[in-house]
Symmetry: C2
Subunit: 235 residues, 2 copies
DNA sequence: TGGGCGAAGATTGTATAAAGTTTCGCCTGT
DNA sequence: ACAGGCGAAACTTTATACAATCTTCGCCCA
């Protein structure tokens, strides 16, 4: 018998082959194993995941909609190269949406959620202790997604997933070399505010957290994009 | 390099066959020719547009991501049936995002844009005069999309496209029978505020406009969804 | 020597065929 | 008469084959 095809209800992604490909490629991109501009050949990916091009194509189209992959007609899929202008747009959107999300999270707080959040904070601290920048960025994104899930708003959650994916790419591209892994303390403070159901503080801290992340980036004027890109890719 | 003015993935590629299918089905859904819950068979649609199921499938997946189509595994694609809870989420998101969008639109105002907006207002007035409710809803959505394009923020534009598509479906499902076509005056006032670059007024009027639209809907508690749906579908 | 033309190779876009799942009708047994 | 199960049909899912397009590299000519 097929022991794994028993998902009757709406299982979002797990156990779906397309989703496995999508998540695998996403992880590779967000952990910087695939650099911006890298070509994602359909055969190549299909080989890796033992899937036909049909499934790979579906996954790539979803990633394109998420904004971390660009598909150029008759040329193929490439890892997105967000410009500083894109970065500013993404963070502006986050500054607009996320304060509202934490607001809702405060209303939906429960002991189980606090546990999940604090477990996540522990993971983040551990990654930071290891100096694992890639894991830190990934976990930081997951923290924000967790709060969006907590808010219970599926629309905001969907939007934020997109913004987080793009943000991770942006942070890996434009982070200043000398800045330490940021924000774990901020995250802890946000969790505290949520636990106290203090909406005003939670919003304010989320906002300043996002501002700080953006401030740590190196967003020059668009004309210099190519130089920066060459620098990062060459290093 | 100079010809790099190409848009992102959601470019208005009219020449693209997938986009033709997507826009055709979207129009059919938003104009209420396809009722919520209707099954969208791949063969059926492929027959209509003279395309193979491969292309139809791609289009349906995009529509599913937009939220106006639900794809159930091994069962097919169906026109989405947003619940009142969905409706409230969508309008909450719009109330959050659109005031900011008009804010940016005020900053980006130009004579050409004012012309486009006023041309659109004329179209809306004409549709309303004809009593064409379907066209009114469609044009109303396009008005909001126009402002988002004007703002120049591609992230907001993408989000709003999704929200507008869902809103149109929601409005067609939950509009009260006795309310007249709404909002054309509001739209005119918003255009006036934009032309004066009066951000505060533009934001306030956009917000009250959205509130009014939502207030004209009939959003009962979720338990009564099925009744409402049966009523609409039976009529 | 440099540039342009062209054919070969590789890759994507599209269509069609094979495989798996669900659904619905029909039939049998109680 | 009705409940339950068997089976065929329809559909979706996945894979593969074919067509179109782009890239690359070599060759020829100015």
């Amino acid at each position: 018998m097929a022991a794994k095809t028993r998902q009757k209800s709406d299982a979002p992604d797990v156990s779906d082959r397309v989703s496995r490909i999508r998540e695998g490629v996403t992880a590779a991109i967000l952990e910087h194993r695939l650099l911006p501009g890298t070509k994602l050949g359909e055969d190549e990916i299909g080989e890796i995941y033992g899937a036909s091009r049909t499934l790979v194509r579906t996954a790539l189209q979803q990633l394109a909609h998420e904004g971390i992959v660009n598909i150029e007609k008759n040329r193929g899929a490439f890892v997105a190269r967000p410009t500083p202008a894109d970065a500013r747009e993404v963070f502006e959107a986050r500054r607009l949406i996320e304060p509202t999300i934490v607001d809702h999270a405060c209303a939906a707080v429960s002991p189980a959620w606090i546990n999940r959040l604090q477990g996540h904070l522990a993971e983040e601290r551990e990654a930071e202790l290891r100096g694992d920048a890639r894991a830190s960025v990934r976990l930081s994104g997951e923290f924000h997604r967790l709060i969006a899930e907590m808010s219970g708003h599926s629309i905001y959650l969907g939007f934020l997933k997109e913004l987080i994916a793009r943000s991770s790419l942006i942070i890996l591209l434009y982070r200043r070399h000398d800045t330490p892994a940021c924000g774990t303390d901020h995250h802890a403070e946000i969790v505290t505010a949520i636990r106290k159901r203090d909406k005003a503080v939670a919003r304010a801290q989320m906002l300043s957290h996002l501002r700080e992340i953006e401030a740590e980036l190196f967003l020059k004027d668009p004309a210099a994009d190519e130089l920066r890109l060459a620098d990062v890719l060459g290093a």
